[in-house]
Symmetry: C2
Subunit: 327 residues, 2 copies
């Protein structure tokens, strides 16, 4: 079953309450994007509408329970998606990216100043939305995630071009960059919804799933195919971002261990050649296996962390859908 069909099946199984919550989240996102004057409406609305899989808000709503969710839980779903979108807008400025999900980026349309401001504005809107719930714990959870995202970016820059980075450090970075917001999403749903799950336990589940998601994303950057990712293989290598496939491959291939990324990998052709070499070591399968271990660890937490059979089932399916996306 492919990822889209798996997600559709999951939503079907989750029932009308979650579907209603997602629809309310979309309506509110649209409202927020339209509510900040023409300039924002143009930029933010396009970014917010471009969507994506809405995996983080879905996690909020599943943690919030089977029924049509309380307003506060919908606000949390909106907030995590706004925060995620804010980081994407800033990433596009830094990468000078022309396209995201096939559409022109805010950077490309409006330049770096407007794009940085749009990202800042989406940040502010995320916190405003959550503050409206009156839950200081919720705002703190989102703020902790936001801090972690920024620390992850700083760590990535600090480690750039350092091929000798350890697996533990790589995993720490995945936790900061991706696990943290998945964890916050699950925690917020548990805090603000009626799902009856344990906030800490569900946050730990979200963290594991997020790390698995990031590892598989990093595998995809090496494996392609291009038609699937929309970019050539090896963009991380060109960027100096050392990920698990290269870390594992270096231990298996002395030529890769001796490679000086910054000096020797300077264009797309060189990056694709290194990708082929990494794939030849079997490191991609080893990295996928590491991700699957994380998914298994996430699922193992569910019996104790969830509020009942419904929640156990849908969160189990979410963990599978992350893997399916890459299979």
């Amino acid at each position: 079953m492919n990822a889209e069909r798996q997600l559709a099946a999951l939503l079907e199984a989750a029932g009308p309450g979650v579907a209603a919550g997602l629809a309310r989240m979309e309506a509110r996102l649209e409202e927020i994007a339209a509510g900040d004057g023409e300039a924002l409406a143009a930029h933010a609305r396009r970014m917010v509408a471009a969507g994506g899989k809405r995996l983080r808000p879905l996690l909020v709503l599943l943690a919030a329970g089977p029924d049509d969710p309380p307003t506060a839980a919908v606000a949390a779903a909106v907030a995590v998606e706004l925060l995620h979108t804010a980081t994407l807008v800033h990433d596009d400025v830094l990468d000078r990216a022309p396209l995201r999900r096939g559409r022109p980026t805010v950077f490309a349309t409006a330049g770096p100043h407007a794009a940085t401001a749009t990202g800042d504005l989406l940040f502010a809107r995320a916190f405003a939305e959550l503050a409206g719930t009156g839950s200081a714990g919720a705002v703190e959870a989102l703020s902790a995630a936001s801090t972690a995202l920024a620390r992850g970016e700083l760590l990535q820059r600090a480690d750039a071009w350092d091929a000798e980075v350890a697996v533990d450090r790589y995993v720490e970075r995945c936790g900061l960059k991706t696990g943290s917001l998945f964890a916050a999403a699950a925690r917020l749903g548990a805090l603000l919804g009626d799902g009856g799950g344990d906030p800490d336990g569900l946050a730990a589940f979200g963290d594991h799933v997020g790390v698995a998601f990031q590892i598989l994303d990093d595998v995809l950057d090496v494996s392609g195919p291009v038609e699937r990712t929309g970019k050539h293989r090896g963009t991380d290598l060109l960027d100096g971002t050392v990920t698990l496939p290269l870390i594992l491959a270096r231990a298996r291939d002395p030529a890769l261990a001796a490679l000086d990324l910054r000096a020797e990998v300077r264009d797309a052709a060189a990056a694709e050649a290194v990708c082929d070499r990494i794939a030849a070591t079997g490191a991609l399968d080893a990295a996928r296996a590491a991700a699957l271990e994380r998914v298994a660890a996430a699922k193992a937490l569910l019996p104790a962390a969830t509020g009942g059979d419904w929640q156990l089932g849908v969160l189990d399916a979410v963990a599978d859908s992350v893997v399916a996306r890459y299979s």
Copy 2:
């Protein structure tokens, strides 16, 4: 009396409670900057330590009252300074600025990725600090200011190079870019302190003072002197940012009205020549007068908005200190 001495006199008059609050704010800023791992500690600590006049946190504490302030008011003072610093870090990325307040910027030291992440992290920390107070109204006030700051930046980019921008639109931009955070500072102090002032009234006072501050800053960009501003005159002109001095001067000098900024003002020498031409029209005095009107309007609000004679006196002095800074 120069601005530094005027500020020192104000603090003397404000008494030991406000001084204690400022010291607690500084200690907390230092703690936050040190608490996020090595990379942030290095970048954020330098930016936070570089300081500046701490005008926004001072406004929080004066609005909070004469006594050693409640923890929540100190948190608000910390939060507004963190948010302000976050925007400076992002501005430095966009301007590719090597120096701020005589020190290397995060951008110059660590590059655009780390600097953008540092700014995002300071944003998140600001909201976390305020969320810790448990006041949803406070988080909403900061979020509204943050949204306004971003909208101001978007408006400025939308209006760039448009010399025909109206005075009202320019003032709106000043309100968004600068008035909003001054207003939030005063509102937060009123909400979280014991000063007894009216939050809306004090916010309106802060907004007027902030707009005056911005107008005078824009005058300084044209008037210099360079030793005072640390940059050559006319940086706004080179940037395409049309400010009150040029708007007023265009109505007085047909040659300025006919000037095509983008085509004709392309280097520092050309910008300085336009600055001289603006000054020759008398527009700088007219712009200063507009700022003084704002200060007067701010002061006129104080009798009704403040919680007593002490607060009226110190906020009156703050309004004067903004003017003194530029006289």
